[in-house]
Symmetry: C2
Subunit: 400 residues, 2 copies
């Protein structure tokens, strides 16, 4: 750090320059994030100082957090939950209770869901001899590698079926006396696939296990599809859900959410906070952005279900267009897309990926098993982009 | 969520109203956060879309992260580190190497520092039979309760001496064959005290232990005091440091940083990231705000050491004024303040705290052992506030 400070003008001239190295999301087909909605950006700015790590000082931002959790609870069918006395009261809607808080994103939500399982089991009657374990699909996001590394529990990976859903018999075979919970994915990162949540829930109920659903991406997609598959609290047996407003929710970063069916989960994450305006904290981070909370509130209120439905319809139209046109060129998707993620079978996908970036500036990614081109069709993409992309893909695959 | 969206006007009329329930930091003497600097807010806005979870797409924001880590490394005397090949090159400064990344704040930094210790020990030659443990001061922040709860390691708490520094003989007595690391605090949350870092470092070196310094608050204070105590990488034996730009660094939330002396620490936190533009990630969260990174860059460049020195001088003047005037009223501080935190001995502190809020709107907090009024003098406070506060304190203590 320099002794003397630079002027605002010098700094912003540099920052504008640096910003030109960042993507503006044009030609990005690899990201589950997108440009935040304008109203989210404005609300973020208005609440830029707000710290949800100190709720007593930021009662307004905390009110917005509760309202967002309620909206998300409704979206994920928490109204079918039995109405107990609520940590976060359901207010006028009278639609039952929901428990949760706004996280920094899917990784924190997944970590905290597993931490909650571990704490509840430790405090409960179930006897675990040896290391507790959870069973997750092979397709689970790499955040579960962090869970495995830090949490002192074993993470077992169940095989996928031919459609890249978790294989229920594989899950069943991995459950043992030390298993404390299962994880299902509603919108896998690689294939956009939805695991058979109802079957996982039956396994969970039969074996008295927790069931966490990672809907970080799918949570703002599946409810707005034409015939949504059951994946949320409507399914009895689902105990927690991760959903990310900063992905298809069009909010600002960091905006994740973790929702629980029961208040005992939140309680199990509690630590005492002696020097704050509140006495306890159940979040992973301490100081927390109230700005992105306001952003999520604003964009959810502004779009409503109708707005999100349009957003999903738009992305699904791009997805269908991409698959249809790709087929004409001889490229088949690995599965019929369930949501706005396509895994395209092309020859030599790693080389194709490299060439797409190097020659034409397209950002795409690769699925692991089997290796294929992975494309996420987001609100920042256009029909014109799809056509240009396919022309470029054709050129490359013809020449290599 | 409603079917139809609300207009921007309706939403902002509500948000403005809700915001009035949040503090504007007037009469807040309990927080280690403050209003972010204007230039931080502007830079945050400029980079609102940036996601440091996907470095390939956000090369500009990533450049800013590296520059911030370098500036923080310089601030914390990483120039004395031997110049190995650097993950984050030291560039033109030629001042050696530093390794680290920008976190969501002190809690994440502390969690990741301990996770790194655990992973390095697991991968190394030291044999741990049973549960690994770390030794922390009784005064450590409650984020270490989260570490204890999630990490599958034992957290031992060493006693404090009469000045609320960690007692070195207590630390020494707690070290056993399973101890993997020590923690020292540079700016304790309750007393603003600095542990005897050089003595801790000697213990760490003698016993081949890691030593993490939690300077979340003190990191932007101590270097700007007149006779700073040694607490950072200048002290051989310190292996990692947490420092929070969103506290006395005057940046936006979320802005923390975790710095390591050696690249092996970062490597130990690595997980593979198959579907991103980069192949590995060593952060705790996935998607990460590039906006607060830009904010930290901007405010550090704008203030320079001179600006931060003025900021600390201002807060220390308020602190000295408070202590001097409080003494006139008969209230002694528990220790002579080291930085801008005062623990004031008053009769019946819990009742006084309650009355200060209820009758006069002052937010203060309470130290645990012994119970006293805890006051943090931040840039948002003024000399006038201090006088008003002491008058109100006098009224209350006279009447109860």
């Amino acid at each position: 750090m320099n002794e003397k400070g630079l002027s605002e003008k010098e700094i912003f001239s540099y920052l504008e320059n640096v910003k030109s190295e960042d993507t503006d999301y044009y030609k990005v087909l690899s990201s589950m994030c997108t440009r935040p909605h304008k109203i989210a950006v404005e609300a973020h700015r208005l609440f830029i100082e707000a710290n949800l790590g100190d709720l007593g000082l930021f009662a307004g931002a905390h009110r917005l957090e509760r309202e967002v959790i309620m909206m998300l609870g409704e979206l994920l069918h928490a109204q079918s939950v039995d109405a107990q006395s609520a940590k976060i009261p359901s207010g006028k809607s009278g639609k039952g209770s929901i428990y949760g808080y706004l996280t920094t994103g899917g990784t924190e939500s997944n970590i905290q869901a597993v931490r909650g399982m571990k704490n509840l089991v430790t405090a409960g009657e179930k006897k675990i001899v040896g290391t507790p374990n959870i069973v997750i699909p092979e397709s689970a996001h790499f955040s579960f590698d962090k869970v495995a590394n830090m949490m002192g529990i074993e993470v077992k990976r169940a095989l996928l079926d031919s459609e890249f859903k978790v294989d229920i018999s594989s899950v069943e075979s991995l459950i043992d006396a030390n298993t404390i919970g299962l994880v299902g994915i509603a919108g896998t990162t690689e294939f956009g696939q939805i695991d058979p949540i109802e079957k996982l829930a039956k396994l969970a109920l039969d074996n008295e296990l927790f069931l966490h659903i990672d809907a970080a991406f799918g949570g703002f997609v599946i409810p707005f599809l034409e015939n949504p598959q059951p994946f949320d609290f409507k399914v009895s047996g689902v105990t927690s859900i991760a959903i990310d407003p900063h992905k298809m929710g069009l909010s600002t970063i960091p905006s994740g959410a973790l929702l629980f069916r029961s208040p005992s989960f939140l309680d199990s994450l509690r630590v005492n906070t002696p020097y704050l305006t509140t006495k306890a904290q159940f979040t992973l981070t301490g100081t927390r952005s109230g700005a992105s909370t306001a952003a999520t509130y604003a964009v959810m209120k502004h779009l409503g279900r109708e707005g999100y439905r349009k957003n999903v319809q738009y992305c699904m139209q791009l997805t269908e267009k991409l698959v249809k046109e790709a087929r004409k060129l001889g490229f088949e998707p690995l599965i019929e897309p369930i949501m706005n993620v396509v895994a395209l079978r092309v020859p030599n996908p790693d080389l194709v990926r490299e060439q797409l970036l190097k020659r034409f500036g397209w950002n795409v990614s690769i699925t692991r098993t089997p290796r294929s081109l992975r494309l996420v069709l987001m609100p920042h993409n256009t029909a014109w982009d799809i056509e240009e992309f396919l022309q470029d893909l054709k050129k490359i695959t013809t020449e290599i």
